[in-house]
Protein backbone atom coordinates (compact mmCIF):
# COMPACT_ATOMS: atom_id res chain seq x y z
CA UNK A 1 0.00 0.00 0.00
CA UNK A 2 0.99 3.64 -0.49
CA UNK A 3 2.36 5.20 2.68
CA UNK A 4 -0.39 7.85 2.53
CA UNK A 5 -3.06 5.15 2.55
CA UNK A 6 -1.40 3.50 5.52
CA UNK A 7 -1.19 6.86 7.32
CA UNK A 8 -4.92 7.33 6.75
CA UNK A 9 -5.52 3.89 8.20
CA UNK A 10 -3.46 4.80 11.27
CA UNK A 11 -5.51 7.97 11.73
CA UNK A 12 -8.76 6.03 11.56
CA UNK A 13 -7.53 3.37 13.96
CA UNK A 14 -6.58 6.12 16.45
CA UNK A 15 -10.12 7.52 16.19
CA UNK A 16 -11.48 4.01 16.77
CA UNK A 17 -9.29 3.57 19.87
CA UNK A 18 -10.38 6.82 21.48
CA UNK A 19 -14.05 6.28 20.61
CA UNK A 20 -14.05 2.64 21.85
CA UNK A 21 -12.49 3.55 25.18
CA UNK A 22 -14.78 6.55 25.56
CA UNK A 23 -17.88 4.48 24.81
CA UNK A 24 -16.86 1.81 27.33
CA UNK A 25 -15.56 4.45 29.78
CA UNK A 26 -12.85 1.87 30.40
CA UNK A 27 -9.77 0.54 28.62
CA UNK A 28 -6.18 1.47 27.79
CA UNK A 29 -5.81 4.27 25.22
CA UNK A 30 -2.16 5.32 25.86
CA UNK A 31 -0.29 2.18 24.80
CA UNK A 32 -2.83 1.55 22.02
CA UNK A 33 -2.20 4.95 20.43
CA UNK A 34 1.57 4.50 20.76
CA UNK A 35 1.54 1.17 18.90
CA UNK A 36 -0.78 2.15 16.05
CA UNK A 37 1.96 2.42 13.39
CA UNK A 38 3.25 -1.04 14.35
CA UNK A 39 -0.19 -2.61 13.90
CA UNK A 40 -0.81 -0.85 10.61
CA UNK A 41 2.59 -1.87 9.26
CA UNK A 42 2.13 -5.45 10.44
CA UNK A 43 -1.39 -6.14 9.21
CA UNK A 44 -1.39 -4.08 6.00
CA UNK A 45 2.18 -4.50 4.83
CA UNK A 46 4.15 -7.27 6.56
CA UNK A 47 2.00 -10.26 7.52
CA UNK A 48 1.39 -12.91 4.90
CA UNK A 49 -2.08 -13.85 6.11
CA UNK A 50 -5.15 -15.70 4.89
CA UNK A 51 -8.35 -13.72 4.36
CA UNK A 52 -10.38 -16.08 6.55
CA UNK A 53 -9.28 -16.77 10.12
CA UNK A 54 -8.14 -20.29 11.02
CA UNK A 55 -7.01 -21.06 14.55
CA UNK A 56 -4.23 -23.45 13.48
CA UNK A 57 -2.68 -20.81 11.25
CA UNK A 58 -1.07 -23.24 8.80
CA UNK A 59 0.75 -21.63 5.87
CA UNK A 60 0.44 -18.07 7.10
CA UNK A 61 2.31 -15.68 9.41
CA UNK A 62 1.01 -15.43 12.96
CA UNK A 63 0.82 -12.54 15.41
CA UNK A 64 0.50 -12.69 19.19
CA UNK A 65 -0.14 -9.73 21.51
CA UNK A 66 1.41 -10.36 24.91
CA UNK A 67 0.56 -7.00 26.51
CA UNK A 68 -3.13 -7.68 26.02
CA UNK A 69 -4.32 -4.45 27.64
CA UNK A 70 -3.69 -2.59 24.37
CA UNK A 71 -6.58 -4.59 22.90
CA UNK A 72 -8.26 -1.45 21.41
CA UNK A 73 -5.55 -1.00 18.76
CA UNK A 74 -5.61 -4.71 17.92
CA UNK A 75 -9.41 -4.92 17.70
CA UNK A 76 -9.59 -1.85 15.50
CA UNK A 77 -6.82 -3.16 13.24
CA UNK A 78 -8.48 -6.57 12.94
CA UNK A 79 -11.83 -5.01 12.10
CA UNK A 80 -10.29 -2.61 9.56
CA UNK A 81 -8.41 -5.56 8.04
CA UNK A 82 -11.69 -7.40 7.56
CA UNK A 83 -11.52 -10.07 10.28
CA UNK A 84 -14.90 -9.00 11.72
CA UNK A 85 -17.39 -6.17 11.13
CA UNK A 86 -16.22 -2.68 12.06
CA UNK A 87 -19.63 -2.14 13.75
CA UNK A 88 -18.62 -4.67 16.39
CA UNK A 89 -16.03 -2.21 17.76
CA UNK A 90 -18.93 -0.44 19.50
CA UNK A 91 -19.35 -3.47 21.78
CA UNK A 92 -15.84 -3.23 23.29
CA UNK A 93 -15.93 -4.17 27.01
CA UNK A 94 -19.74 -4.44 27.01
CA UNK A 95 -21.64 -7.47 28.27
CA UNK A 96 -22.14 -10.29 25.71
CA UNK A 97 -19.40 -8.85 23.49
CA UNK A 98 -16.68 -10.81 21.72
CA UNK A 99 -14.39 -7.81 22.33
CA UNK A 100 -13.39 -8.61 25.90
CA UNK A 101 -11.39 -6.11 27.93
CA UNK A 102 -8.33 -8.23 27.26
CA UNK A 103 -8.08 -10.44 24.15
CA UNK A 104 -9.65 -13.88 24.46
CA UNK A 105 -10.40 -16.87 22.27
CA UNK A 106 -13.38 -17.90 24.36
CA UNK A 107 -15.99 -15.90 22.42
CA UNK A 108 -14.53 -16.92 19.05
CA UNK A 109 -13.30 -13.51 17.92
CA UNK A 110 -11.50 -13.90 14.61
CA UNK A 111 -7.81 -13.04 14.73
CA UNK A 112 -7.15 -14.00 18.36
CA UNK A 113 -5.29 -17.26 19.01
CA UNK A 114 -4.65 -17.09 22.75
CA UNK A 115 -5.87 -15.07 25.71
CA UNK A 116 -3.50 -12.42 27.03
CA UNK A 117 -3.56 -9.75 29.68
CA UNK A 118 -1.86 -11.45 32.57
CA UNK A 119 1.60 -10.30 31.50
CA UNK A 120 4.70 -12.23 30.55
CA UNK A 121 3.05 -15.16 28.77
CA UNK A 122 2.80 -14.20 25.11
CA UNK A 123 6.44 -14.69 24.18
CA UNK A 124 6.34 -18.30 25.37
CA UNK A 125 3.18 -18.97 23.36
CA UNK A 126 4.69 -17.35 20.27
CA UNK A 127 7.83 -19.48 20.59
CA UNK A 128 5.65 -22.59 20.91
CA UNK A 129 3.80 -21.62 17.73
CA UNK A 130 7.16 -21.02 16.00
CA UNK A 131 8.34 -24.50 17.04
CA UNK A 132 5.13 -25.94 15.60
CA UNK A 133 5.82 -24.16 12.30
CA UNK A 134 9.26 -25.75 12.16
CA UNK A 135 7.88 -29.23 12.91
CA UNK A 136 5.16 -28.71 10.31
CA UNK A 137 7.77 -27.49 7.80
CA UNK A 138 5.81 -24.29 7.40
CA UNK A 139 8.21 -21.48 6.36
CA UNK A 140 5.99 -18.67 7.64
CA UNK A 141 6.97 -16.43 10.55
CA UNK A 142 5.64 -15.69 14.01
CA UNK A 143 5.44 -12.12 15.37
CA UNK A 144 4.84 -11.08 18.96
CA UNK A 145 4.51 -7.71 20.68
CA UNK A 146 5.35 -7.16 24.36
CA UNK A 147 5.41 -4.12 26.62
CA UNK A 148 8.48 -2.68 28.29
CA UNK A 149 6.98 -2.82 31.78
CA UNK A 150 6.25 -6.46 30.97
CA UNK A 151 9.99 -7.10 30.78
CA UNK A 152 9.88 -7.18 34.57
CA UNK A 153 8.10 -10.56 34.44
CA UNK A 154 10.43 -13.53 35.01
CA UNK A 155 8.74 -15.72 32.39
CA UNK A 156 9.98 -13.36 29.64
CA UNK A 157 13.54 -14.32 30.47
CA UNK A 158 12.76 -18.02 30.69
CA UNK A 159 11.38 -17.71 27.18
CA UNK A 160 14.30 -15.59 25.99
CA UNK A 161 16.78 -18.23 27.16
CA UNK A 162 14.79 -21.03 25.52
CA UNK A 163 14.46 -19.37 22.11
CA UNK A 164 18.18 -18.69 21.80
CA UNK A 165 19.17 -22.15 23.04
CA UNK A 166 16.79 -23.85 20.62
CA UNK A 167 17.67 -21.48 17.74
CA UNK A 168 14.08 -20.33 17.18
CA UNK A 169 14.88 -18.22 14.12
CA UNK A 170 11.38 -17.91 12.63
CA UNK A 171 10.28 -15.44 15.26
CA UNK A 172 10.32 -11.61 15.34
CA UNK A 173 9.56 -10.20 18.78
CA UNK A 174 8.97 -6.50 19.33
CA UNK A 175 9.03 -4.59 22.61
CA UNK A 176 7.01 -1.39 22.89
CA UNK A 177 9.51 0.82 24.71
CA UNK A 178 7.30 3.71 25.77
CA UNK A 179 9.00 4.06 29.13
CA UNK A 180 5.72 4.10 31.06
CA UNK A 181 3.85 1.66 33.26
CA UNK A 182 0.87 1.96 35.60
CA UNK A 183 2.72 3.31 38.62
CA UNK A 184 4.92 5.73 36.68
CA UNK A 185 7.99 5.83 34.44
CA UNK A 186 9.59 2.40 34.01
CA UNK A 187 12.91 3.87 35.11
CA UNK A 188 11.40 4.79 38.47
CA UNK A 189 9.17 1.75 39.02
CA UNK A 190 11.78 -0.89 38.14
CA UNK A 191 14.56 0.20 35.85
CA UNK A 192 15.29 -2.21 32.99
CA UNK A 193 18.83 -0.81 32.71
CA UNK A 194 20.33 -1.57 29.28
CA UNK A 195 17.54 -3.59 27.66
CA UNK A 196 19.37 -4.07 24.35
CA UNK A 197 22.43 -5.43 26.19
CA UNK A 198 20.22 -7.81 28.18
CA UNK A 199 18.63 -9.30 25.04
CA UNK A 200 22.02 -9.51 23.30
CA UNK A 201 23.44 -11.29 26.34
CA UNK A 202 20.55 -13.78 26.08
CA UNK A 203 21.67 -14.57 22.55
CA UNK A 204 19.16 -12.59 20.49
CA UNK A 205 19.69 -10.43 17.41
CA UNK A 206 18.62 -6.94 18.57
CA UNK A 207 17.26 -4.20 16.29
CA UNK A 208 15.88 -0.79 17.22
CA UNK A 209 13.33 1.46 15.56
CA UNK A 210 11.26 4.60 16.01
CA UNK A 211 7.79 3.12 16.48
CA UNK A 212 5.81 6.21 15.55
CA UNK A 213 7.56 6.60 12.19
CA UNK A 214 5.50 4.38 9.90
CA UNK A 215 8.13 4.23 7.16
CA UNK A 216 10.83 3.21 9.61
CA UNK A 217 8.60 0.56 11.21
CA UNK A 218 7.97 -1.02 7.78
CA UNK A 219 11.65 -0.85 6.83
CA UNK A 220 12.80 -2.35 10.13
CA UNK A 221 10.25 -5.17 10.06
CA UNK A 222 11.38 -5.98 6.50
CA UNK A 223 15.00 -5.91 7.63
CA UNK A 224 14.10 -8.28 10.50
CA UNK A 225 12.39 -10.66 8.03
CA UNK A 226 15.62 -10.76 6.10
CA UNK A 227 17.47 -11.81 9.24
CA UNK A 228 15.23 -14.81 10.00
CA UNK A 229 16.30 -18.43 9.37
CA UNK A 230 19.79 -17.68 10.69
CA UNK A 231 19.67 -19.77 13.87
CA UNK A 232 18.96 -16.76 16.06
CA UNK A 233 15.74 -15.18 17.39
CA UNK A 234 15.16 -11.49 16.66
CA UNK A 235 13.88 -8.74 18.93
CA UNK A 236 13.12 -5.15 17.95
CA UNK A 237 13.20 -2.45 20.62
CA UNK A 238 10.50 -0.11 19.38
CA UNK A 239 10.69 3.39 20.84
CA UNK A 240 7.21 4.91 21.00
CA UNK A 241 5.37 7.76 22.67
CA UNK A 242 2.47 6.56 24.79
CA UNK A 243 -0.64 8.39 23.60
CA UNK A 244 0.93 9.42 20.26
CA UNK A 245 -1.48 11.36 18.05
CA UNK A 246 -3.50 12.95 20.86
CA UNK A 247 -1.46 15.83 22.30
CA UNK A 248 -2.78 15.75 25.84
CA UNK A 249 -2.26 11.97 26.12
CA UNK A 250 1.36 11.95 24.95
CA UNK A 251 4.22 10.80 27.09
CA UNK A 252 2.50 10.25 30.40
CA UNK A 253 1.50 7.14 32.28
CA UNK A 254 -1.71 8.98 33.28
CA UNK A 255 -3.42 7.71 30.11
CA UNK A 256 -2.26 4.11 30.53
CA UNK A 257 -5.64 2.85 31.66
CA UNK A 258 -8.26 5.58 31.85
CA UNK A 259 -10.96 6.72 29.47
CA UNK A 260 -11.49 10.27 28.13
CA UNK A 261 -14.63 12.15 29.15
CA UNK A 262 -16.96 13.75 26.56
CA UNK A 263 -14.94 16.95 26.33
CA UNK A 264 -11.61 15.12 26.09
CA UNK A 265 -13.08 12.87 23.39
CA UNK A 266 -14.00 15.90 21.27
CA UNK A 267 -10.54 17.42 21.82
CA UNK A 268 -8.93 14.14 20.75
CA UNK A 269 -11.14 13.63 17.69
CA UNK A 270 -10.43 17.15 16.51
CA UNK A 271 -6.79 16.09 16.14
CA UNK A 272 -7.69 12.84 14.32
CA UNK A 273 -9.55 13.43 11.03
CA UNK A 274 -11.96 10.67 10.02
CA UNK A 275 -10.67 8.99 6.89
CA UNK A 276 -12.46 5.70 6.43
CA UNK A 277 -15.68 6.34 8.34
CA UNK A 278 -16.27 5.91 12.06
CA UNK A 279 -18.07 2.86 13.41
CA UNK A 280 -21.60 3.77 14.52
CA UNK A 281 -22.27 4.16 18.24
CA UNK A 282 -25.45 2.26 19.06
Amino acid sequence: MEIETLQQMAGQIRRDIVRMVHKAQSGHPGGSLGCTEYFVALYFEILRRKPVFEMDGHDEDLFFLSNGHISPVWYSTLARAGFFPVEELATFRQIDSRLQGHPATHEGLEGIRVASGSLGQGLSVAIGAALAKKLNQDPHLVYVLMGDGEQQEGQIWEAAMFAAHHKVDNLIATIDVNGQQIDGPVKEVMDLQDLAAKWKAFGWQVLEMEGNDLGEVIRTLRLAKGLTQREQPIVILMKTEMGFGVDFMVGTHKWHGIAPNDEELQKALAQLPATLGDFPIV
Partner: protein, 332 residues
Protein backbone atom coordinates in the same frame (compact mmCIF):
# COMPACT_ATOMS: atom_id res chain seq x y z
CA UNK B 1 -17.59 -60.40 39.00
CA UNK B 2 -13.89 -60.39 38.24
CA UNK B 3 -11.51 -60.69 41.18
CA UNK B 4 -8.64 -58.24 41.00
CA UNK B 5 -5.24 -59.54 42.02
CA UNK B 6 -1.69 -58.30 41.98
CA UNK B 7 -0.09 -58.84 38.57
CA UNK B 8 3.23 -57.23 39.49
CA UNK B 9 4.65 -54.03 40.88
CA UNK B 10 5.59 -50.91 38.95
CA UNK B 11 5.48 -47.13 39.32
CA UNK B 12 2.64 -45.28 37.62
CA UNK B 13 5.11 -42.82 36.07
CA UNK B 14 6.59 -45.73 34.11
CA UNK B 15 3.10 -46.35 32.75
CA UNK B 16 3.13 -42.75 31.53
CA UNK B 17 6.57 -43.21 29.94
CA UNK B 18 5.46 -46.38 28.16
CA UNK B 19 2.25 -44.76 26.99
CA UNK B 20 4.09 -41.71 25.69
CA UNK B 21 6.53 -43.85 23.72
CA UNK B 22 3.67 -45.79 22.15
CA UNK B 23 1.91 -42.54 21.31
CA UNK B 24 5.07 -41.28 19.64
CA UNK B 25 4.91 -44.25 17.30
CA UNK B 26 1.16 -44.02 16.71
CA UNK B 27 0.51 -40.30 16.51
CA UNK B 28 2.94 -37.96 14.75
CA UNK B 29 1.17 -34.93 16.26
CA UNK B 30 2.26 -35.83 19.79
CA UNK B 31 5.20 -33.78 21.09
CA UNK B 32 6.69 -33.69 24.58
CA UNK B 33 8.24 -31.02 26.77
CA UNK B 34 10.13 -31.53 30.00
CA UNK B 35 11.62 -29.14 32.58
CA UNK B 36 14.83 -30.96 33.53
CA UNK B 37 13.16 -34.11 34.90
CA UNK B 38 13.27 -36.39 31.86
CA UNK B 39 14.49 -39.41 33.83
CA UNK B 40 12.09 -38.90 36.74
CA UNK B 41 9.14 -38.60 34.34
CA UNK B 42 10.29 -41.67 32.34
CA UNK B 43 10.35 -39.58 29.15
CA UNK B 44 13.81 -40.83 28.13
CA UNK B 45 12.53 -43.41 25.68
CA UNK B 46 10.34 -40.86 23.86
CA UNK B 47 13.22 -38.40 23.77
CA UNK B 48 15.59 -41.01 22.30
CA UNK B 49 13.08 -42.25 19.71
CA UNK B 50 11.73 -38.81 18.66
CA UNK B 51 14.40 -36.19 19.43
CA UNK B 52 12.88 -33.64 17.04
CA UNK B 53 9.54 -33.88 18.87
CA UNK B 54 11.02 -33.51 22.35
CA UNK B 55 11.76 -30.08 23.89
CA UNK B 56 13.98 -29.64 26.90
CA UNK B 57 12.89 -26.40 28.57
CA UNK B 58 15.35 -26.31 31.44
CA UNK B 59 14.10 -25.45 34.91
CA UNK B 60 11.50 -23.02 33.58
CA UNK B 61 8.00 -24.40 34.01
CA UNK B 62 6.09 -21.17 33.31
CA UNK B 63 7.70 -20.97 29.88
CA UNK B 64 7.01 -24.67 29.31
CA UNK B 65 3.26 -24.14 29.77
CA UNK B 66 3.27 -21.21 27.35
CA UNK B 67 5.27 -23.18 24.78
CA UNK B 68 2.77 -26.02 25.03
CA UNK B 69 -0.14 -23.63 24.44
CA UNK B 70 1.66 -22.27 21.36
CA UNK B 71 2.44 -25.73 19.97
CA UNK B 72 -1.28 -26.57 19.88
CA UNK B 73 -1.82 -23.64 17.52
CA UNK B 74 0.07 -25.59 14.88
CA UNK B 75 -2.23 -28.57 15.47
CA UNK B 76 0.23 -30.51 17.63
CA UNK B 77 -0.63 -32.34 20.87
CA UNK B 78 1.91 -31.33 23.54
CA UNK B 79 2.51 -33.41 26.68
CA UNK B 80 4.30 -31.46 29.42
CA UNK B 81 6.22 -33.36 32.07
CA UNK B 82 7.39 -32.30 35.51
CA UNK B 83 6.55 -32.98 39.16
CA UNK B 84 2.92 -32.37 40.16
CA UNK B 85 3.94 -29.44 42.35
CA UNK B 86 5.66 -27.65 39.46
CA UNK B 87 2.90 -28.70 37.03
CA UNK B 88 0.16 -26.89 38.93
CA UNK B 89 0.75 -24.45 41.77
CA UNK B 90 3.92 -23.02 40.29
CA UNK B 91 2.29 -22.33 36.92
CA UNK B 92 -1.33 -21.79 37.86
CA UNK B 93 -1.78 -18.53 36.01
CA UNK B 94 -0.04 -19.82 32.88
CA UNK B 95 -2.41 -22.80 32.83
CA UNK B 96 -5.38 -20.59 33.60
CA UNK B 97 -4.83 -17.97 30.90
CA UNK B 98 -2.79 -19.59 28.12
CA UNK B 99 -4.27 -23.11 28.34
CA UNK B 100 -7.65 -23.41 30.10
CA UNK B 101 -9.26 -20.06 29.22
CA UNK B 102 -7.74 -20.29 25.74
CA UNK B 103 -9.09 -23.84 25.33
CA UNK B 104 -5.74 -25.31 24.28
CA UNK B 105 -5.24 -29.03 23.73
CA UNK B 106 -2.38 -29.41 26.23
CA UNK B 107 -1.81 -32.56 28.29
CA UNK B 108 -0.29 -31.56 31.64
CA UNK B 109 1.39 -34.72 32.93
CA UNK B 110 2.43 -34.65 36.55
CA UNK B 111 4.51 -37.16 38.45
CA UNK B 112 5.52 -37.48 42.12
CA UNK B 113 2.08 -36.36 43.29
CA UNK B 114 1.16 -36.72 46.94
CA UNK B 115 2.86 -38.04 50.06
CA UNK B 116 4.36 -41.08 48.34
CA UNK B 117 7.04 -38.91 46.79
CA UNK B 118 8.55 -39.68 50.20
CA UNK B 119 11.89 -38.49 51.45
CA UNK B 120 12.02 -35.15 49.57
CA UNK B 121 9.36 -33.88 51.94
CA UNK B 122 6.58 -31.33 51.93
CA UNK B 123 8.17 -28.83 49.52
CA UNK B 124 7.64 -31.39 46.76
CA UNK B 125 4.64 -33.38 48.08
CA UNK B 126 1.76 -31.47 46.57
CA UNK B 127 -1.59 -32.47 48.06
CA UNK B 128 -3.65 -29.66 46.55
CA UNK B 129 -3.16 -30.22 42.82
CA UNK B 130 -6.46 -31.99 42.08
CA UNK B 131 -8.33 -29.11 43.68
CA UNK B 132 -6.32 -26.47 41.84
CA UNK B 133 -6.88 -28.15 38.49
CA UNK B 134 -10.51 -29.16 38.88
CA UNK B 135 -11.48 -25.57 39.68
CA UNK B 136 -10.36 -24.38 36.26
CA UNK B 137 -13.19 -24.40 33.71
CA UNK B 138 -12.70 -26.79 30.77
CA UNK B 139 -9.94 -28.78 32.49
CA UNK B 140 -10.26 -32.58 32.70
CA UNK B 141 -8.61 -34.14 35.77
CA UNK B 142 -7.42 -37.75 35.79
CA UNK B 143 -5.61 -39.70 38.53
CA UNK B 144 -5.02 -43.31 37.45
CA UNK B 145 -4.37 -46.10 39.95
CA UNK B 146 -1.65 -48.34 38.55
CA UNK B 147 0.87 -48.80 35.75
CA UNK B 148 -1.59 -50.24 33.26
CA UNK B 149 -4.26 -47.64 33.88
CA UNK B 150 -1.74 -44.79 33.67
CA UNK B 151 -0.50 -46.10 30.34
CA UNK B 152 -4.05 -46.46 29.05
CA UNK B 153 -4.93 -42.96 30.25
CA UNK B 154 -1.83 -41.49 28.58
CA UNK B 155 -2.99 -42.98 25.28
CA UNK B 156 -6.65 -42.04 25.75
CA UNK B 157 -6.11 -38.34 26.41
CA UNK B 158 -4.45 -37.90 23.01
CA UNK B 159 -7.78 -38.82 21.43
CA UNK B 160 -9.62 -36.23 23.51
CA UNK B 161 -9.56 -32.60 22.30
CA UNK B 162 -9.02 -30.25 25.26
CA UNK B 163 -6.75 -29.55 28.22
CA UNK B 164 -6.13 -32.45 30.61
CA UNK B 165 -4.34 -32.78 33.94
CA UNK B 166 -2.93 -36.32 34.31
CA UNK B 167 -1.63 -37.10 37.81
CA UNK B 168 0.59 -40.02 38.74
CA UNK B 169 3.27 -40.97 41.23
CA UNK B 170 6.75 -42.06 42.10
CA UNK B 171 6.80 -45.35 44.06
CA UNK B 172 6.34 -48.88 42.81
CA UNK B 173 2.79 -49.94 43.59
CA UNK B 174 0.71 -53.04 42.75
CA UNK B 175 -0.43 -53.54 39.16
CA UNK B 176 -3.93 -54.98 39.24
CA UNK B 177 -5.89 -53.48 36.34
CA UNK B 178 -5.55 -55.94 33.41
CA UNK B 179 -3.70 -54.52 30.44
CA UNK B 180 -6.67 -54.88 28.10
CA UNK B 181 -9.07 -52.87 30.30
CA UNK B 182 -10.44 -50.01 28.21
CA UNK B 183 -9.91 -46.52 29.61
CA UNK B 184 -12.80 -44.16 29.15
CA UNK B 185 -12.38 -40.56 30.37
CA UNK B 186 -15.14 -39.69 32.83
CA UNK B 187 -16.35 -43.29 33.23
CA UNK B 188 -15.69 -44.75 36.67
CA UNK B 189 -14.61 -48.39 36.86
CA UNK B 190 -16.58 -50.78 39.06
CA UNK B 191 -14.00 -53.13 40.63
CA UNK B 192 -16.07 -55.00 43.20
CA UNK B 193 -19.78 -55.21 43.80
CA UNK B 194 -21.17 -54.82 47.31
CA UNK B 195 -24.32 -54.06 49.24
CA UNK B 196 -23.49 -52.36 52.54
CA UNK B 197 -21.03 -49.57 51.76
CA UNK B 198 -19.43 -47.98 48.69
CA UNK B 199 -15.69 -47.29 48.60
CA UNK B 200 -14.83 -44.59 46.04
CA UNK B 201 -11.09 -44.31 45.49
CA UNK B 202 -8.65 -42.68 43.13
CA UNK B 203 -4.93 -43.00 42.38
CA UNK B 204 -2.73 -44.85 44.82
CA UNK B 205 -5.65 -45.52 47.18
CA UNK B 206 -7.59 -47.77 44.82
CA UNK B 207 -5.62 -50.91 45.68
CA UNK B 208 -5.90 -50.21 49.44
CA UNK B 209 -9.66 -49.79 48.90
CA UNK B 210 -9.81 -53.29 47.39
CA UNK B 211 -7.79 -54.58 50.36
CA UNK B 212 -10.21 -52.82 52.72
CA UNK B 213 -13.09 -54.59 51.00
CA UNK B 214 -11.37 -57.92 51.76
CA UNK B 215 -10.95 -56.95 55.43
CA UNK B 216 -14.61 -55.94 55.63
CA UNK B 217 -15.75 -59.15 53.92
CA UNK B 218 -14.34 -61.11 56.88
CA UNK B 219 -16.72 -59.10 59.08
CA UNK B 220 -19.62 -59.91 56.77
CA UNK B 221 -19.64 -56.37 55.43
CA UNK B 222 -20.13 -56.28 51.69
CA UNK B 223 -18.24 -53.32 50.23
CA UNK B 224 -18.54 -52.05 46.70
CA UNK B 225 -15.34 -50.59 45.23
CA UNK B 226 -15.38 -48.06 42.42
CA UNK B 227 -12.28 -46.55 40.84
CA UNK B 228 -12.86 -42.87 40.07
CA UNK B 229 -9.84 -42.39 37.83
CA UNK B 230 -11.48 -39.24 36.43
CA UNK B 231 -12.24 -36.62 39.05
CA UNK B 232 -13.56 -34.18 36.47
CA UNK B 233 -15.89 -34.69 34.74
CA UNK B 234 -17.28 -36.75 37.62
CA UNK B 235 -19.19 -39.92 36.79
CA UNK B 236 -22.29 -38.97 38.77
CA UNK B 237 -24.26 -41.88 37.35
CA UNK B 238 -21.82 -44.44 38.77
CA UNK B 239 -21.79 -42.60 42.09
CA UNK B 240 -25.56 -42.38 42.44
CA UNK B 241 -26.25 -45.94 41.26
CA UNK B 242 -23.87 -47.23 43.89
CA UNK B 243 -25.15 -45.21 46.86
CA UNK B 244 -28.79 -45.86 45.98
CA UNK B 245 -27.89 -49.47 46.73
CA UNK B 246 -25.50 -49.08 49.68
CA UNK B 247 -26.82 -45.84 51.26
CA UNK B 248 -23.37 -44.88 52.62
CA UNK B 249 -19.89 -44.32 51.24
CA UNK B 250 -16.19 -43.66 51.80
CA UNK B 251 -13.92 -41.56 49.59
CA UNK B 252 -10.18 -42.31 49.55
CA UNK B 253 -7.42 -40.27 47.96
CA UNK B 254 -3.83 -39.14 48.44
CA UNK B 255 -4.86 -35.48 48.50
CA UNK B 256 -6.29 -32.78 50.75
CA UNK B 257 -9.91 -33.32 51.69
CA UNK B 258 -10.36 -29.70 50.57
CA UNK B 259 -10.58 -29.81 46.81
CA UNK B 260 -10.24 -33.54 46.29
CA UNK B 261 -12.35 -36.41 44.94
CA UNK B 262 -14.30 -36.66 48.19
CA UNK B 263 -15.32 -33.03 47.94
CA UNK B 264 -16.60 -33.54 44.40
CA UNK B 265 -18.55 -36.63 45.51
CA UNK B 266 -19.99 -34.75 48.51
CA UNK B 267 -21.13 -31.92 46.27
CA UNK B 268 -23.06 -34.34 44.08
CA UNK B 269 -24.44 -36.37 46.99
CA UNK B 270 -25.67 -33.32 48.88
CA UNK B 271 -27.61 -32.24 45.79
CA UNK B 272 -28.86 -35.60 44.62
CA UNK B 273 -28.81 -38.23 47.37
CA UNK B 274 -27.73 -37.12 50.86
CA UNK B 275 -26.18 -40.03 52.76
CA UNK B 276 -23.22 -40.62 55.12
CA UNK B 277 -19.88 -40.05 53.39
CA UNK B 278 -16.66 -40.64 55.30
CA UNK B 279 -13.55 -39.15 53.73
CA UNK B 280 -10.06 -40.63 53.79
CA UNK B 281 -7.47 -38.05 52.79
CA UNK B 282 -5.24 -35.32 54.16
CA UNK B 283 -6.75 -33.16 56.89
CA UNK B 284 -5.49 -29.68 56.02
CA UNK B 285 -1.80 -30.29 56.66
CA UNK B 286 1.46 -30.43 54.74
CA UNK B 287 3.40 -33.66 54.45
CA UNK B 288 6.94 -34.43 55.63
CA UNK B 289 9.97 -36.58 54.82
CA UNK B 290 9.82 -40.32 55.28
CA UNK B 291 9.32 -43.66 53.55
CA UNK B 292 6.09 -43.69 51.52
CA UNK B 293 4.56 -46.55 53.56
CA UNK B 294 5.37 -44.84 56.86
CA UNK B 295 3.85 -41.58 55.61
CA UNK B 296 0.68 -43.27 54.40
CA UNK B 297 0.38 -44.90 57.83
CA UNK B 298 0.99 -41.68 59.76
CA UNK B 299 -1.41 -39.62 57.65
CA UNK B 300 -4.15 -42.22 57.71
CA UNK B 301 -4.17 -43.40 54.09
CA UNK B 302 -4.02 -47.23 54.41
CA UNK B 303 -6.49 -50.06 53.82
CA UNK B 304 -7.09 -50.19 57.59
CA UNK B 305 -8.08 -46.53 57.63
CA UNK B 306 -10.45 -47.09 54.71
CA UNK B 307 -11.98 -50.12 56.45
CA UNK B 308 -12.47 -48.14 59.66
CA UNK B 309 -14.06 -45.28 57.72
CA UNK B 310 -16.42 -47.82 56.13
CA UNK B 311 -17.48 -49.13 59.54
CA UNK B 312 -18.17 -45.54 60.65
CA UNK B 313 -20.21 -44.87 57.53
CA UNK B 314 -22.31 -47.96 58.20
CA UNK B 315 -22.83 -46.97 61.86
CA UNK B 316 -23.97 -43.53 60.78
CA UNK B 317 -26.32 -45.04 58.23
CA UNK B 318 -27.89 -47.34 60.85
CA UNK B 319 -28.07 -44.86 63.72
CA UNK B 320 -28.89 -41.91 61.50
CA UNK B 321 -27.00 -39.72 63.98
CA UNK B 322 -23.52 -38.29 63.67
CA UNK B 323 -20.54 -39.82 65.42
CA UNK B 324 -18.72 -37.84 68.10
CA UNK B 325 -16.58 -35.04 66.70
CA UNK B 326 -12.96 -36.11 66.45
CA UNK B 327 -10.00 -33.99 65.38
CA UNK B 328 -7.60 -35.81 63.09
CA UNK B 329 -4.22 -36.26 64.85
CA UNK B 330 -2.08 -34.78 62.06
CA UNK B 331 -4.08 -31.58 61.74
CA UNK B 332 -3.55 -30.55 65.39
Amino acid sequence: MKQYEILGHQDTRSGFGAGLLELGQKNPKVVALCADLTGSLKMDAFKAAFPERFFQTGIAEANMMGLAAGLTIGGLIPYTGTFANFSTGRVYDQIRQSIAYSGKNVKICASHAGLTLGEDGATHQILEDIGLMKMLPHLTVINPCDYNQTKAATLAIAEYEGPVYLRFGRPKVPIFIPEDTPFEIGKALLLREGKHVSLFATGHLVWPALQAAEILAKENISAEVINFHTIKPLDETALLQSVQKTKCAVSAEEHQLNGGLGESLAQCLSRQFPCPLEMVGIHDSFGESGKPEALMQKYGLTCDHIAEAARQAIIRKRNAKPKAFKVHPVSQ
